[in-house]
């Protein structure tokens, strides 16, 4: 397939359609509305289900219902809507049915605004609802990656019977750039053994998150935790650029990571040994990879479009092995490469260099 000029929201929607999406339920909210609009035209055209729900509360519970039948189903929203979905997210997690949620993040708290932000990091990686669960969270930095992550999200959701978030921001949702869509995959014709399809010549199936006995509920939680452990072992994704010899490593995801890449290029041009570490999975977080990097960097700079959320995970990962500084813009403001470069220069002056050690971390992409 050839590259075409695509808007992020539309690209995600079409990628989901081509990943075999059977049903979409959603509610309009900026800056993701084009995604819902695309679904409203495409899904009926293909004889699949599209429904604009009366609220995000209803939308996520429709997702829960459709997911219970074993089909590929998704919804999309932004911060205020994700907050409303948390009840349903928790039930979906407790019932172990697969579902994909797209969060095109905007500035908060409250109604905030509709500008790009990364302020839902804590919400979706750590606290997507009541009880002990964590969704897989993928953080695209380009439209192409948003497409790829959307397809991957469905595969991971089915594989682990879990919630998977594609966490973009307003920039990813609204930007237009050349990208390639995947080939069309038809929705699966068969359903998993656990799905609700009618107890026709088989024992009945039940989809429930209710376990009244303490031992039974603890058993569920142990199963969920074991699954998370498996996910941590197998699904960590990240990109490392010029980290091999870096004195300073910038840690940033999504759009912030993309901007930081420009700052790294400029810093290298000025002779500073700077690299970029970009978590692609926000959960599972690439903690051990960061920890290894920390041993030979003189400092890390975490850049986010929020007041400092992922920085806590970076600090936990490096566990004091290197100083961790934070630079963030909030409220929809987006840092310019120059602002990040200023921070790099400050850090470079403040901290003495560590001895460089060889490494083999991640995908090392050289900066032109």
């Amino acid at each position: 397939m050839a590259k075409e000029l695509l808007k992020g929201n539309v690209a995600i929607a079409e990628a989901a359609v081509r990943a075999g999406l059977q049903a979409y339920f959603g509610y309009p909210i900026t800056p993701q509305t084009e995604l819902l609009e695309h679904m409203s035209a495409r899904m009926p055209e293909l004889g699949r289900t599209f429904l604009q729900a009366e609220s995000e509360v209803a939308a996520i519970n429709m997702v829960y219902g459709a997911a219970s039948t074993g089909v590929r189903v998704m919804t999309s929203s932004s911060g205020p809507g994700i907050s409303l979905m948390q009840e349903g997210l928790s039930y979906i997690a407790g019932s172990e049915v697969p579902a994909v949620i797209v969060d095109i993040m905007r500035g908060g708290p409250g109604l905030g605004n509709i500008q790009p932000a990364q302020s839902d990091y804590n919400q979706i990686t750590k606290s997507a609802g009541h009880g002990d669960f964590r969704p897989i969270v993928l953080a695209p930095g380009t439209v192409q990656e948003a497409i790829d992550h959307t397809v991957l999200a469905f595969d991971l959701a089915d594989k682990y019977r879990t919630l998977v978030f594609v966490a973009g921001d307003g920039m990813i949702g609204q930007i237009m750039e050349p990208a390639e869509l995947p080939p069309m995959r038809q929705p699966a014709q068969t359903r998993p053994a656990w799905a609700l399809t009618g107890a026709d010549n088989r024992p009945k199936n039940v989809v429930s998150s209710l376990y009244l006995g303490a031992e039974k509920l603890e058993a569920l939680n142990k199963r969920l935790q074991a699954k998370l452990q498996q996910i941590k072992e197998n699904e960590v994704r990240f990109e490392a650029i010029n980290t091999a010899d870096a004195d300073i490593v910038i840690v940033a995801f999504g759009t912030a990571g993309r901007i930081a890449k420009t700052a790294v290029t400029e810093a290298r041009r000025q002779g500073l040994r700077v690299g970029l570490f970009r978590p692609v999975t926000l959960f599972p977080f690439p903690s051990s990879q960061l920890e290894k990097l920390a041993a030979r960097t003189k400092a890390m700079l975490v850049v986010e479009m929020n007041a400092g959320q992922m920085v806590d995970d970076v600090k936990l990962a490096v566990n004091g092995k290197t100083p961790v500084q934070f630079y963030g813009r909030t409220g929809g403001a987006v840092a310019l490469p120059d602002e990040i470069l200023d921070q790099i220069i400050l850090l470079d002056k403040r901290y003495p260099a560590k001895k460089a050690t060889p490494n083999g971390q991640g995908v090392v992409i050289s900066v032109a």
């Binding site: 009366e54 089909v71 189903v73 009840e87 039930y91 609700l196 009618g198 107890a199 010549n201 429930s208």
Partner: protein, 271 residues
Amino acid sequence: MVDVMMEKAPEKVMWAEKMVYERPAALSDIPTHYCPGCTHGLIHKLIGEVIDELGIRQRTISVSPVGCAVFMYDYFDVDGAEAAHGRAPAMATGIKRVQPDNIVFTYQGDGDMASIGMAEIIWAATRGENITVFFVNNAIYGMTGGQMAPTSLPGQVTGSSPNGRDVEMTGMPIRMAELLAGLPGASYVVRRSVHNIQTIKQAKKAIRTAFQVQMAGAGFALVELLSSCPTNWKMTAADSLTWIKENMVPYYPLGDYKVADVVKTLNNRGK
């Protein structure tokens, strides 16, 4: 009385072996957790019998509420989902939209539907979702131990209205059947009771029609059922049935509130 009949029995062996009652196949062979005298079990039985009679057990999917009927999926031998509080109509919508050949029903109490789930039921009805809804109205929150429900009667003493429901403060109880009947999307909305043989028979008939509406693809069907809660009403089982008749029925009149033309056609076809 049984003794008298037994004395006559030896002469009529056929009579002694005739099966006069069986647990519906749609109900699982396990005891329920419902309190003695509660009519949830009776309503389950009516639904189970109708599912059997219509031959739809193998394609039925139940959606349980949060409330006393939360374990309904255990009691019915059909595929079952357990919804979040009040969200059963949304969950049922999600199931039915991708599984149109299945028969999907929700079973919700008054707190679940008329309070926390008001938006979801209004919109399922408005869209004319092709689902069947059983609304069990016992004028109290049963599972949490007897607090005031949206359908508690004026002056009704509950755990959270110890001096009786003060309608100046809480508003009047909500009449769901009347409310939903006003929505163009609803095809069949009726209120029945289960406080005596006659009303039980009428209830079963309505339950049957509500499933038939869905089977014909004729849209949203809801049966409100006035039900008892002897434990939280703090009265005997017998008194609670009288209480339905004397206190609930006057405020919640039994009857057909919406029978769309498409449903009337169905009924005629059946006759």
